[in-house]
């Protein structure tokens, strides 16, 4: 047997792609977990259609999952894939533009037939030529027939047999990247376990068949070696942004000594947070799947009134529906965390795709002067920290807090060095203690936060509501009182600045160009700055997690650079906000609204243009 061709890479991006019923999300997730267990740093990006099962074999029905893993810190899932696993011609068509030049395409040659070429709307019977992919390493694997062959004696019907196709691809890729199958085998046994031994048997057989196929055909497959990443010692786990958001909220409730209540309505891509919280009855989480988005926030607000850490989770369209009730939280001054996992808009928009276009909705999308604190998480795992921080601010300052994440963060995953509860800062809810002098809207002179008196406790009975009120909570239509209260509510939010760390600059501390980004684009802007600095460019990165209030030193940071370019996945919302709140600078913009994350190269290109201008 010939020696296999072994390629050593710092990082590799693999894209698994097939029909939305082909199990590509599971395949991608299992491979990512296996890679992380080997000590690689990873970053993942599921990219799937909003139809659960679009017509089979069509480009609209293609579901993809990209993972980048490597021997150094991985900040994003990779612009372009080194390896594409395509279960049908449509998958090749949908992903051609995401391929690295000279990359490898592994495809199911059984699915490359006349019928499927027509379904994917190819004009010819040669999809690779048609898509100009002839410089790729193309590996046709009879995935379907190998699967059928390895299961022929199990007495399964053909439909059940074909359901295991994804395991063949997974086994093959594991061999290519030198990933042992133990973890995946354990997963399959645990998932289908005793209930369905036949499913376990068939999946394991096909998985091994794929692995062995790779091994036996070494002479045609380049094997990639990716070495473990140098990362800090500690206990790690893989986590996606939705789970880490949910866990951050549970951690905050535990730290604050409160019960956690979540009132939510399922919506892509935020649903998983509600699911993750519903799983935690063992930790006493009260989850309420409401009849609609409005009831989601309203039940949460009721729970906040009754003394729980209250949360509602949603995405853009649902966030719009919650606007009026969020205004009530502003007026009543109750602690509430609203998580918006942003997706492509407007309206239903691109439900399964990522975007950062709800920032202005979060800041301004309500009637009246209605200020809230706005935070944005920047990686899948730091959703934990910003969810925790959102709860801390809400409880200590008696104010609603909006946490912006996005579909990319919510679905994407990365290894996370898990914290212990002891490492997390204290949370001290502003519980009222002095009943003799209690007034619902008496305030801490420094923070302007009111006190929280919980129904059921003698001596504190009071009434609050959505009407403008006096210090007692009773209705007041006094003109001066309204002006004073509007200013107080705004100032109360601005004084949260003492809980906001200074903005740090990555890369050059001063120089030619400052890249400004916020939220979920961090991995890509960070990688772009790192690469540009390697090329000797004078570039820094200021990445924002605190939107309202902004960190105190923003103007100081901005003044140290000749040019500022605000990169965001919208048409310029943060740039607009900065122009009004941090005036005196020229803000260049780099915007993308394709429902996709930035690529590192397009950011570099945009910055180079500014540098050359």
């Amino acid at each position: 047997m010939k020696e296999a061709k072994v390629i050593e890479l710092e990082e590799v991006a693999i894209r698994f792609s097939g029909d939305s019923g082909d199990g590509m999300q599971l395949t991608g997730t299992l491979f990512s977990d296996a890679a992380a267990l080997m000590g690689n740093d990873i970053s993942t990006f599921p990219d799937y259609p909003s139809e659960i099962r679009a017509p089979q074999g069509t480009v609209a029905g293609v579901s993809g999952f990209q993972v980048q893993f490597g021997g150094k810190q991985i900040s994003h899932p990779g612009d372009l894939a080194h390896v594409l696993v395509a279960m049908n011609p449509a998958a090749v068509k949908a992903n051609a533009r995401f391929m690295n030049p000279g990359g490898t395409i592994i495809y199911d040659e059984d699915a490359f037939n006349e019928k499927n070429f027509r379904k994917a709307a190819f004009a010819t019977d040669d999809p690779f030529t048609e898509l100009n992919l002839n410089d790729m390493v193309r590996i046709g694997v009879p995935i379907t027939s190998l699967t059928q062959e390895s299961l022929k004696d199990l007495g399964l019907d053909n439909k059940s047999i074909l359901r295991s196709k994804n395991m063949l691809a997974l086994g093959l890729v594991c061999w290519m990247f030198n990933r042992p199958l133990d973890y995946i085998e354990k997963f399959i046994r645990n998932k289908f376990g005793k209930k369905n031994p036949l499913v376990v048997e068939s999946n394991l057989r096909v998985l091994k068949a794929g692995y062995n196929y790779g091994y036996n055909l070494q002479f045609t497959t380049p094997q990639y070696l990716v070495n473990p990443a140098p990362i800090q010692p500690g206990i790690y786990r893989n986590i996606n942004g939705n789970y880490s958001t949910a866990w951050g909220l549970i951690a905050a409730a535990e730290k604050a000594g409160l019960k956690l209540f979540v009132g939510s309505y399922p919506i892509t891509p935020a649903t998983e947070i509600l699911q993750a919280l519903s799983e935690r009855k063992d930790l006493g989480v009260k989850s309420f799947q409401a009849e609609d988005e409005i009831a989601g926030i309203c039940t949460a607000l009721g729970a906040a009134f009754a003394g729980h850490l209250a949360v509602t989770t949603t995405s853009g369209p649902g966030f719009a529906l919650k606007s009026e009730a969020l205004g009530l939280a502003v007026m009543a001054e109750l602690p509430l965390v609203v998580v918006d996992v942003q997706r492509g808009g407007p309206s239903t928009g691109l439900p399964t795709k990522t975007e950062q276009s709800d920032m202005l909705q979060a800041l301004y999308g309500r009637n009246g002067e209605s200020p809230v604190v706005v935070l944005a998480a920047s990686t899948p795992s730091d959703c934990f920290w910003y969810a925790y921080k959102a709860a801390k601010i809400a409880l200590e300052r008696m104010v609603p807090v909006v946490l912006l994440t996005d579909g990319f963060l919510g679905n994407g995953s990365e290894p996370w060095k898990v914290p212990t509860m002891a490492e997390l800062p204290e949370i001290t809810p502003r519980l009222a203690k002095d009943s003799a002098n209690y007034k619902p809207y008496a305030r801490d002179p420094k923070t302007l936060a009111r006190e929280w008196a919980i129904p059921g406790i003698p001596g504190f009975a009071h009434r609050i509501g959505g009407l403008e009120k006096s210090i007692t909570g009773n209705v007041s239509h006094d003109p001066d009182n309204h002006q004073i209260n509007c200013e107080i509510r705004e100032n109360k939010v601005m004084r949260v600045i003492d809980m906001v760390p200074d903005l740090e600059v990555y890369g050059q501390d001063s120089g030619e160009v400052l890249i400004v980004s916020w939220g979920g684009t961090y991995g890509h802007t960070l990688s772009a700055v790192t690469e540009m600095r390697k090329q000797g460019k004078s570039v820094g990165l200021a990445h924002f997690n605190y939107i309202k209030p902004l960190p105190a030193n923003v103007a100081d940071v901005f003044s140290r650079f000749k040019k500022i370019i605000v990169c965001e996945l919208n048409l310029g919302q943060f740039a607009t906000f900065l122009r009004s709140t941090v005036p005196g600078f020229e803000y260049h913009q780099f915007n993308k609204v394709k429902g996709l994350p930035f690529t590192v190269s397009e950011i570099s290109e945009a910055v180079n243009k500014i540098l050359e201008a």
Binding site: E291, G302, A306, P455, A461
Partner: protein, 337 residues
């Protein structure tokens, strides 16, 4: 130790009540406050939640904990309050528009879940706070500011929605009958689950006399039947009329006529889970029937807020994860040295 006696004064707030003079809301609030006092529960154990509308000013006039929320959402907010603290006795004050137009979705889903809330629906068949537009309970053809030629839509009957949504408790009262209101409010409070009480209420300004046909003292005995569990369904000036099932249909009959004896008169069973007869009673309307008042339906069923706590307790009995640190270290973790 002697139980503390509360009076109606213990449940009044310092705020001046600002409903229009003669408004039916005054009588309803008095009845609620009396029932609260009689229950022997201190005022801080009550939360009164409201939406938007005249009736929704209710919490400000009570000495209890109160939350005046936004239009249509009182029942959703109150659901959150009750689930967070099932120990509280939670009341909701809402109107026909608040509950069945803008808040219609929350109304039916609250009933479906059977959360232990006491909901008073002030039904004056008009929008009062916005000065006289038709509501979802306004009679077909009625002329209002937004229906100058008469409405062209049929009204909701709140009780039908309760039955349709699988409700466990429905009662009806009328603002002028303080004694009956107290009686049904007390029953509503005792009931475990969502208690919906429709109170027919007069709006002096925009819909004065809307319920006059029912309340007219000259005909009241003929036009109202007050139902009590276990008692025969009898009404009329001389208690001579009753309700009976004749050839499968609910009918008004006169005792002594056509061979009808007292034994033919139906006996009210509010506890019967089958809602068929309850629905027929709810649907009764002038001129062929009297309007039914009192507790029409009160059946036992599982209660959401209790089940929420019970489920958590059950899961925690056998839990492996007892705190956040356990959760963080659970499942697939690995150590980097």
């Amino acid at each position: 130790m002697e139980a503390i006696k509360y009076t109606i004064k213990d449940f009044k707030s310092e705020n001046e009540v600002r409903w229009c003079p003669g408004c039916g809301d005054y009588a309803i609030m008095n009845a609620v406050q009396r029932v609260m006092a009689d229950a022997g529960i201190p005022h801080e154990q009550y939360a009164v939640i409201s939406g938007i509308g005249c009736s929704s000013r209710f919490p400000y006039y009570m000495s209890t904990y109160g939350f005046h929320t936004i239009h249509g959402r009182a029942m959703a907010v109150a659901s959150g309050v009750k689930c967070a603290n099932p120990g509280l006795t939670v009341w909701v004050a809402t109107g026909d528009g608040d509950a069945m137009a803008i808040g219609g979705n929350h109304f039916i889903h609250l009933i479906r879940r059977n959360i232990d809330l006491n909901v008073i629906v002030f039904n004056n068949k008009i929008y009062g706070l916005t000065k006289g537009q038709y509501s979802p309970t306004t009679d077909r053809g009625f002329k209002t500011k937004t229906s100058p030629y008469g409405t062209i839509e049929d009204p909701f009957n709140p009780g039908q929605l309760v039955i349709g949504a699988g409700g466990t408790f429905f009662a009806r009262s009328i603002d002028g009958n303080l004694k009956m209101s107290q009686e049904v409010f007390a029953e509503a409070m005792k009931h475990k689950g969502t208690s919906i009480v429709e109170v027919l209420q007069n709006c002096m300004i925009y819909n004065d006399g809307v319920h006059d046909q029912i309340t007219d003292p000259a005909f009241r005995a003929e036009r109202q039947i007050i139902l009590r569990h276990g008692e025969p369904m009898i009404f009329g000036q001389n208690s001579e009329k009753g309700l009976a099932i004749i050839k499968g249909k609910l009918k008004v009959v006169t005792i002594g006529e056509n061979g009808i004896t007292p034994d033919d008169i139906l006996v009210h069973d509010a506890l019967e889970p089958d809602p068929m007869l309850h629905l027929a009673l709810i649907n009764m309307n002038l001129p062929n029937f009297p309007v039914a008042f009192g507790v029409i339906r009160s059946v036992a069923s599982s209660v959401y807020d209790e089940e929420m706590s019970v489920q958590i307790g059950e899961v925690q009995k056998t839990r492996k994860i007892t705190c956040m640190d356990d959760l963080l270290m659970s499942g697939n973790t690995w150590e980097v040295k």
